[in-house]
Amino acid sequence: MVVRLKTGSPNPSGDSGRRTRRVAIYPHRSVRSLPVTATRLVVALLVSAILCGFTAYYAIELMSLHGRIAHSLMGFAGIPVKGWEAVSVFPGLQPASAPMTEIPAFSAVTDWARMLVIAAIVILLLVSRRYVLTRNLAGFLMFLLICSAIVNSVNPDLTFTSQTFGQIWLRGEMLVWLLLPWVASLLFLVPQPNVAEGIFWVLMVQVYGVLFSALRMVFCLGVLHHTGLLFLPLIWFGMGTLSDLLFLLFFYSVSVYRTSGRVWGFRSTWQS
């Protein structure tokens, strides 16, 4: 009997044997790392500085664009705009325009607006009872509503113009827009394996930040126009910086979702 010893790859293709071997041992998640290099940090700093500088340099144009978007949205939402007033956002900077819409004082708001506050408190109460995890957030929102109701009741003629609101809004948002590139670079660019994609995320967050700000400002002005100052602290808290944080978190979670799958393969944690 002749035993033939077969050498080399048993497969028809010469190199297919190599394909069965892994290029590298798949790293266990406990020892994984990503290259956070000095170069990457420098790129992140440069992108942040350029974007921040761009935002500062074109601040007026940016606020003007913000205003135009807000104007269109207000027209679309049927919020009457009496006109636009130039407001000073920061000393040394040319004034930006803020929309003029009527915000009634507490003494002039309709009964249904007052009922709406009570309804909002009841809804928040129900939500907090149903979903225990939301209790503190709902409690804080109720606290804001009650504070506002008390302040408005004590001083029913308290007025707050939409121009002042627009001015404060733009001040806050401008600070956010200036800060956003730095935060976004740290979150999206430094850990992202693909530099171009990281820069894309940073730019997208910045653009979205401006668009989303206009949308939120219009929503707030709409609420103020119909209900007076009763909801002012609530919407300021909910639609202001909290929304900025939430949209950033949303983008970040999607970014990590995509990166994580691409870097380590689409597999479950327990498989690695």
Binding site: L34, V132, R135, T164, V190, P233, L246, V256, S272
Partner: protein, 455 residues
């Protein structure tokens, strides 16, 4: 005139509060960003992984149990299934005044496996530290390893936790805790993100950079000689693990972190259970802060960075009231009309935004951990973590208020409170959300899952 002066003082105080808040949160933001990036880089992990299996000292495994009939059998079975040399292994199953079927389960296992020694505590001080004091008197190992009853250690777990003790400077070791009931509720999913950030990112980063890792009181161990040298367990402490970490640190020992030693645990699925857990942690942590901060500052052998890190770790729960203070101060600035005229309001509002961005740093750690873990779907839950954030902030503030109230008036603190289990006996774990439950182990020690209802 008088009202105007009072308003001016109020505005001044509010501005100071906002600035203080921003300062504190900026320090923590820098710390979190640094830890996240440092972990991504994974510089020089010193987990002695190569020694796993070669370094097998005599060990004593302790499992404190109080009314744990739902989970007791799983943990004891998992421990006897570990591939550690039985001649060097002692398991002490502590039945701490249980009123359910825990005693019977412990006795049954002790009868079946000679390496298991039962310790029935029917009287005396309650709580885990008191139980550990009694169990330590029975221990014969050079190393004591601890597991809570709801944990399911893998086959190589004991070897992995024993290996770092090859380093004579290591006084304690800590493994990684991984929740297995992620699909149990939204809260469980959010807590799994928090755990991932805490272990995969923060613990590993601190260990890599030469800072002491935090001993968590479970999935970890302590060197018997080190424990004796620092005076044993502190029965009065609510968080005996944090207390032990800092006593070891102040006596020159290090706490090693083994990221690969992953052990499954059950996280709370309801907020009420979680809140009780949080209250205990906050109280214990803050107690340790008050107890050890002068000694940390005075310790000559600790570097400046080690001191800063230790103090920031102990003071981390104080950031919650500081943040609330900042919010309230911003609210005051918002309502006080005079502040509208000056840019300070805008700056205050910007700072409030910055506080939120500062918190982004902790979310960044979650992202880093998920990226390294390869977790994808659960990462999409992250925006909802804001609910957990608000809920925790309130619970922490409440716990701190009670803590300082008691400190002021000298009342007794909260008792040791056991976390409620939800797992059914013998189920090996609740369904993980995909209709799967952990039902057994493969030959290499990995647990495998099965569709609910399948045989």
């Amino acid at each position: 005139m008088g009202i105007q002066i009072n308003m001016a003082i109020l505005v001044l105080i509010a501005r100071c509060c906002v600035l203080f808040t921003v300062l504190v949160l900026t320090i923590y933001a820098i710390r979190h960003y640094w830890m996240g990036f440092s972990r991504l880089k994974l510089r020089n992990p010193k987990d002695m992984n190569e020694l796993v299996g070669f370094m097998m000292p005599r060990i004593t495994v302790m499992v404190p149990m109080h009314n744990e009939e739902k989970v007791a059998a799983d943990v004891l079975q998992a421990l006897v299934d570990c591939d550690y040399d039985w001649s060097r292994l002692q398991i002490i199953a502590i039945n701490d005044r249980s009123t359910d079927g825990t005693r019977a389960i412990v006795d049954r296992y002790a009868e079946k496996y000679p390496i298991i020694q039962p310790l029935h505590r029917d009287s005396g001080q309650g709580g885990k530290p008191a139980a550990l004091i009694d169990a330590t008197q029975m221990a014969t190992g050079e190393i004591i390893l601890l597991f809570d009853a709801d944990y399911i250690p893998g086959r190589a777990m004991l070897k992995m936790l024993a290996a770092p003790f090859a380093d004579i400077e290591v006084g304690a070791v800590m493994g990684r805790v991984v929740p297995h009931n992620v699909g149990g509720s939204l809260l469980a999913g959010l807590l799994s993100l928090e755990r991932a950030a805490g272990y995969q990112s923060a613990q590993q980063s601190r260990f890599n950079n030469g800072f002491t890792a935090q001993f968590g009181g479970t999935v970890g161990g302590v060197r018997m000689s080190a424990l004796r040298a620092i005076g044993g367990w502190d029965a009065s402490s609510l968080t005996e693990d944090t207390d032990l970490t800092f006593r070891l640190l102040l006596n020159g020992w290090r706490v090693a972190y083994v990221n690969r030693a992953e052990c499954y645990e059950e996280v709370p699925i309801s907020w009420l259970v979680r809140r009780r857990q949080l209250v205990r942690w906050v109280t214990g942590h803050t107690e340790c802060l008050h107890k050890y901060w002068p000694r940390i500052l005075a310790a000559n052998f600790l570097s400046r960075m080690e001191k800063i890190d230790a103090l920031l770790l102990l003071a981390m729960y104080l950031t919650a009231p500081v943040m609330v203070l900042g919010w309230l101060a911003s609210l005051v600035l918002f309502f006080v009309e005079s502040a509208h005229e000056v840019p300070i309001l805008a700056i205050a509002m910007g700072f409030v935004g910055y506080q939120l961005f500062a918190n982004q740093a902790t979310f960044m750690e979650i992202g880093v951990a998920c990226m390294l873990d390869g977790s994808r779907e659960r990462m999409l839950l992250m925006p909802l973590n804001i609910l957990n954030f608000f809920a925790s902030t309130g619970a922490i503030c409440n716990a701190l208020m009670r803590f300082y109230w008691r400190k002021l008036w000298g009342n007794d603190g909260p008792g040791w409170d056991k976390t409620k289990r939800t797992r059914e006996p013998g189920a090996g774990g609740p369904e993980n959300g995909n209709g799967l439950r952990i039902v057994g182990r493969t030959s290499n020690g990995l647990y495998f899952s099965q569709k609910a209802g399948e045989e």
